[in-house]
Symmetry: C2
Subunit: 303 residues, 2 copies
């Protein structure tokens, strides 16, 4: 089971110091989801050798440009590159107007369907479900309507005991069935229960994504116990007043939230253009919550 996130953008507001606005690529068992899509996200995908056409879901947290201005360009490139499979897009209702207006004026009729689902910034909702993951939104507290996203793996499959494959000559196509609980009859006619051929599954993992928000305990329940929490940390704590005024969080507060929410690991990002060096932000968050990492473009974090 693969469940990991690659950072495509970690800058707040404007691109600077080779940092791009917000975007992350989530790999769920080699199926890809994009979380936010700041300007030049498609360039970042190219730069890191990640195939945009493998993305099937896009989640936009809110309508500040640094979180979605790369969307129409990305959708357009997918169209020009011959995509035919649908794209699911989740975001504030008005996002559809932005997309539709621009494709109308460029007289572009996409070669693939967009399934748009408006998110609700007032109350938590389940918005997507597949066999291996489900996605929920929860309200954040920003200057404009904004949602966080919580990606939860479903029960993982049991793990096959490798030695048993050879010992009992188990055919490859039987392995997924055995993982799901089916028994296996070997050449001698002996039936082996699935439990005997497998070990317990890993615990399903949770990734919580908190883009722009003022620090608040209101959303703690939604991110509680996450295996990895991404939380914005736009400023250092000496800029607390500025953070509150602009509805952002400081690195110290991000650490406090991670601690309070009892998450396993914290990833901070959305760094203000005033910080060339990010180490002080890392140190500040880590002073409260040790297991903190910086969201760095191109870096992949296992969840």
């Amino acid at each position: 089971m693969k469940f990991e996130v690659t950072i495509l953008g970690s800058s707040s507001s404007t691109p600077i110091f080779n940092r791009n606005p917000s975007a992350q690529l989530l790999n769920v068992n080699e199926k890809f989801m994009l979380i936010d899509c700041g300007e030049a996200t498609q360039n970042q995908l190219l730069h890191f050798g990640l195939k945009a056409n493998r993305i099937d879901q896009i989640f936009i947290s809110h309508l500040h440009g640094d979180h979605y201005l790369g969307l129409v360009g990305l959708l357009s490139s997918l169209h020009l590159n011959g995509r035919t499979k649908p794209m699911d897009i989740f975001g504030p209702a008005d996002l559809l107007e932005i997309i539709d207006l621009q494709f109308k004026l460029s007289q572009t009729v996409l070669k693939y369907p967009i399934n748009f689902k408006a998110t609700n910034s007032e109350k938590p909702e389940m918005i997507f479900e597949s066999w291996d993951v489900h996605v929920e939104t929860f309200p954040l507290d920003h200057r404009i309507p904004c949602t966080g996203f919580k990606f939860t793996e479903k029960q993982r499959l049991r793990k096959i005991i490798k030695e048993k494959i050879e010992e009992l000559s188990i055919p490859t196509d039987m392995i997924p069935l055995i993982k799901k609980g089916q028994s296996f009859t070997d050449k001698k006619g002996i039936i082996h229960a699935a439990e005997e051929l497998t070990t317990d599954a890993d615990q399903p993992k949770v990734y919580a994504y908190c883009s722009d928000t003022v620090c608040s305990w209101k959303y703690i329940d939604h991110i509680a116990n996450a295996d990895l929490l991404y939380h914005e940390a736009t400023f250092m704590n000496d800029m607390l007043a500025r953070a509150e005024e602009t509805f952002h969080t400081t690195a110290l507060q991000a650490g406090e939230i991670a601690l309070k929410a009892n998450v396993k690991k914290l990833l901070i990002g959305h760094f203000s253009a005033r910080y060339r060096d990010l180490e002080p932000l890392l140190e500040e968050a880590s002073s409260i919550f040790t297991e903190t990492s910086l969201a760095i473009e191109g870096k992949t974090f296992e969840i």
Copy 2:
């Protein structure tokens, strides 16, 4: 007098091979104009160390995303970086709706005024004039309304003869006046006519910009005798049918247009993503018109 253009994007449709969508920075005596603004144009400005805030006019040829999707991000960054001086924007009327919608939804009130002037894709127009340059539009023939832009220097000033400055102890602040025709009285009381202290001005120069268009003789008059013509050359001529179908030009045709229009130099760009190596496009255009260059990101061309 400075009159030069720096390429910020030379790709058609999608970013690829480190090529970005269309954008050019025109330097007119250290005042800057942006021509088209594909996605990530602000990243390109940063990358090449060019100050976005020095731009006072932006010209958008048409509403295909590869020519304007970087605009709202750029305007937004200028706002966040404290710009207060106005920005003149010239483009299709509907561009204003795209800008307004996105700033409305992000609840952004720009700290600086935008002076928007809608261009007319049906007939040529003078759209901007300053003491040293004027700008005209002319209709191009693309899938959606599209204009070319012609930047014409006004009469240049006469050039001061350097030896005279020392010989007659001409004060620095007199020099611009002498260039404009004022006589100078030296310490001995002798009056020197401006013509005696200066040589003839250079001829005013013309830069013509033809973004997306099918090859046509209709706009030849508007680009005739330009010192530098930028012309799209999306395809090689073996793709002529595809070029015509998509209302684009081939490299061979761009050479033919340059020849027919009797321009001094040709710059080709808007290269299709199918060409990693651009040399064949250069060779094709050069086979018709020798003085051809490739629009390469970061390269500056004197006009």
